[in-house]
Homo-oligomer: 252 residues x 2
DNA sequence: GAGTGGTCTAGACCACGCG
DNA sequence: GCGTGGTCTAGACCACTCA
């Protein structure tokens, strides 16, 4: 990246041309993990204001090419890790092979959007199970699983030995009871969002960072019995859906 | 949104507080399609610089709450439209029920990343079929489908009557031949990206706008026979995966 | 304490859509 | 031609990490 000046011809914005130049430099002159010069240095080298340079860096970070940490610097990001969200692996919360870790649980009234998804009255109490997904030593996703209290009571069965009113143990208790319902299927959707303050803390990133929001509706006996809202770090991960056909492809 | 001043207490950045205030205003005082005051007006009303206000608007646009058009203004965005990308509906390119429209096709050498996905030599020629997906009168996705020329030739069959060297008709020809291979399965992944110049033009948005990139690998007879890179507008759509279980949920 | 990225300001001009 | 959002500047200070 020895370039000193940014020659430009057309009406293309500077930051976009800058992004192109930086992308080529990343492809040819940098390796994963390597640190870039700091922003003031880079801006001076290209002869632009720091805000303009940052516009280019912002997009490169959005695309997962760069990793920026306050107080530390900017480095070349590793390729995104693939996270399998296909129903085969991620079948049913708490099922064997489920690699999520339950971190907390408490009863609450759900957000209205969640209540609608559950076909529940807006004021109906639900259990909220908080879980995180850790791979390669880093948190990649945080999830809130909503289960109406009503679906957890089994008719003709005595109330179970009292679980704690809150905490991971209560969450495991809820998942165990959910397990007893036979899963029929799930609807799932993916959209772009930005991390709220609590998710950002759990995912070790700044609030407002881009995330992929995966919303899942779980069904048993033809009824919606649970809903999950999971936020995946968009910068570091890629959602994979495994093989959706009849014959396996060999892993490449 | 009659609020005139932005009182603040903690170390929370102004733009984030601003975003919270605006979100509440959108939820309570605005309806879909309604226009907001212009940016200079809003910035003055909240007592911040325009750049700070724009930081808040940027995030709200990323979340699909706002729609901004240069020369026009900012309006409240409608809810994102769900686009079904489940294998049931989106089975095999060109299959009946496939709602994509073929716009162009030409032979080319694929990008190296695509060649690797196809298990092809980097210089092996492929057919590139361009397609767009239109729903509710707007383009929501643009796709490039890569098919190695080798998989299209049928041994012991005469070369077909010459298709045009380029254009939609050639694309339909390629898809028709691809149909003859029996589909076995597909691998799919979703990640965040930003629109390049050509995709931006086809999706009627600005370059750099956030998109969801869906990469699909199609297999037949245990081999990878095609790969598709589709970019969906992240602002206006939500990818849905239908029912992935054994029993249908009633549509809500 | 030195150095990094994150936030913020108060301007300016440009490109675009529309009447 | 006017009003809109998009780009750009040249500063400033803050919050954070690390030696």
């Amino acid at each position: 990246m020895g370039s000193i000046q940014l020659e430009q011809q057309s009406s293309e914005p500077k930051y976009r041309h800058l992004k192109t130049v930086l992308t080529e430099a990343l492809d040819t002159e940098f390796s994963v993990g390597q640190a870039l010069p700091n922003e003031r240095e880079l801006a001076a080298r290209f002869g632009v204001a720091r805000a303009t340079l940052r516009q280019a860096l912002d997009q490169l970070e959005l695309e997962g090419r760069l990793q920026r940490r306050r107080g530390v610097g900017t480095t070349v990001a590793p390729p995104r890790v693939g996270v399998d969200v296909s129903p085969r692996r991620h079948t049913w919360p708490g099922a064997p092979g489920d690699s999520w870790v339950t971190t907390d649980c408490a009863p609450a009234v759900p957000p209205t959007a969640v209540a609608r998804m559950l076909d529940a009255r807006p004021d109906e109490p639900v259990e909220v199970v908080h879980r995180v997904l850790v791979t390669h030593g880093q948190s990649v996703a945080a999830e809130q699983l909503y289960v109406p209290a009503a679906v957890l009571v089994t008719p003709g069965e005595a109330a179970p030995a009292g679980p704690p009113a809150t905490g991971p143990e209560r969450g495991r208790h809820v998942l165990a009871r959910l397990q007893r319902l036979r899963p029929d299927g799930q609807d799932r959707s993916v959209e772009l969002g930005s991390a709220g303050a609590p998710e950002a803390r759990r995912l070790d990133q700044l609030p407002g960072a881009p995330v992929l929001i995966v919303t899942t509706r779980y069904a048993a006996a033809g009824r919606t019995v649970a809903a999950a809202v999971a936020t995946y770090r968009a910068d570091t991960c890629r959602l994979t859906f495994g093989n959706q056909g009849t014959v396996s492809l060999s892993a490449s």
